[in-house]
């Protein structure tokens, strides 16, 4: 692998401009490797975020050549092919702190608003819960449980860009896993996700599902929430 990459990197916050760096192409080079090389060898003031480098922490997501991706597990070759141009931007739908680093507070506040946390109930369980792995509820929970909170789905979602109050795919996916967790005791989660900014606002564009680096399908989780909210409304218990 030889040649140079022309890497355009967003510099600034909401206002800013692209700065171009020439970076050596290397075998098996990831996008995160490129960003790290820019920061270490070319411009130490470049701001970006990463931690684990192995696709577990969900902190290195960026928009790469127009598509949101986890950069530690994305090879340059996958994105540019035989080309040489790379364009790196901060995640869409987030407030940019500086360069490639975004503010995640609103994203995680929405997890809280969607009751995206396990609720054990007032009294601790008297015994271990028996959860058959093959049960439909556990299967539904398992389908979305591996979310790493990277924000790729939130960045890809058009509804979030139109309606800044929309809870977003990640928070709704988390709510769906918890609704299907037989140990959870939250009786108000469906109300939390059934409002005007909740699951019914989803347009089923499936951008979240097509871009999720963990191959989770938040669209189906949201569809499950829609059904559950409608069932409850139909029974008159909303």
């Amino acid at each position: 692998m030889s040649g140079m990459l022309q890497v355009e990197v967003w510099r600034g916050a909401a206002a800013g401009k692209f700065q171009t760096f020439a970076i050596q192409r290397r075998e098996h080079q990831t996008i995160l490797d490129v960003v790290t090389e820019i920061q270490r060898e070319h411009d130490a003031t470049l701001s970006y975020r990463f931690a684990c480098r192995v696709g577990m922490c969900g902190s290195c997501a960026m928009v790469v050549n127009g598509r949101p991706r986890w950069t530690c597990r994305t090879r340059v070759r996958e994105v540019v092919g035989g080309g040489e141009r790379l364009r790196l931007e901060p995640l869409r739908n987030f407030t940019v702190v500086k360069d490639l680093a975004v503010e995640m507070t609103q994203f995680f506040d929405k997890w809280k608003a969607a009751h995206g946390y396990f609720e054990p109930g007032r009294e601790p369980a008297a015994d271990f819960a028996v959860v058959p792995p093959a049960s439909p509820q556990r299967q539904a929970a398992d389908a979305g449980i591996e979310c790493i909170g990277c924000g790729v789905c939130y960045s890809a979602c058009d509804v979030v860009s139109w309606d800044r109050d929309y809870l977003g795919p990640a928070a709704l996916n988390r709510a769906w896993t918890l609704i299907n967790d037989v140990r959870d005791r939250d009786a108000t989660r469906l109300s939390a996700v059934g409002g005007s900014d909740g699951c019914q606002a989803c347009h089923t564009h499936m951008s979240c599902t097509s871009f999720c680096p963990k191959a989770i399908a938040p669209t189906y989780a949201i569809a499950g929430l829609k059904r559950a909210v409608l069932r409850r409304a139909w029974r008159g218990t909303s």
Binding site: D163, G194, G195, S196, G198, A201, L230, R232, A233, S238
Partner: protein, 109 residues
């Protein structure tokens, strides 16, 4: 509340699918058969089937359209809350009044 609106919009979509098909079919029949306005009115006056289908059509429109418009306005503008809901309730009543007036006129009531 949102779940009820969601359900109402989907349910009325089913009614509209049938009503629009009947409406278009009627238009095609009327134009291909070279019917005049008088011919059409002669067929619709006192026709209970016409009345039932078109009242259902108007009711479905008056429910379906304001809910859709509410979603569009919420996504594309900053208009939210009770004032938006109130304005769209008025819009619904307007559609209902204009639609029923037209249907009753063609029915000949």
């Amino acid at each position: 509340m949102t779940a009820i609106l969601f359900l109402a919009q989907r349910a009325t979509a089913f009614v509209l699918a049938a009503a629009v098909a009947i409406h278009l079919g009627t238009i095609l029949y009327a134009t291909r058969a070279d019917l005049t306005a008088a011919d059409i009115l002669a067929r619709t006056h006192g026709n209970l089937w016409f009345l039932l289908v078109y009242v259902a059509f108007v009711l479905a429109v008056a429910i379906h359209a304001p809910i859709g418009l509410r979603n569009v306005l919420r996504e594309w503008t900053f208009w939210r809350g009770r004032s938006l809901d109130f304005a769209l309730a008025l819009f619904s009543l307007l559609l209902l009044a204009l639609g029923l007036r037209a249907v009753l006129a063609v029915y000949g009531a």
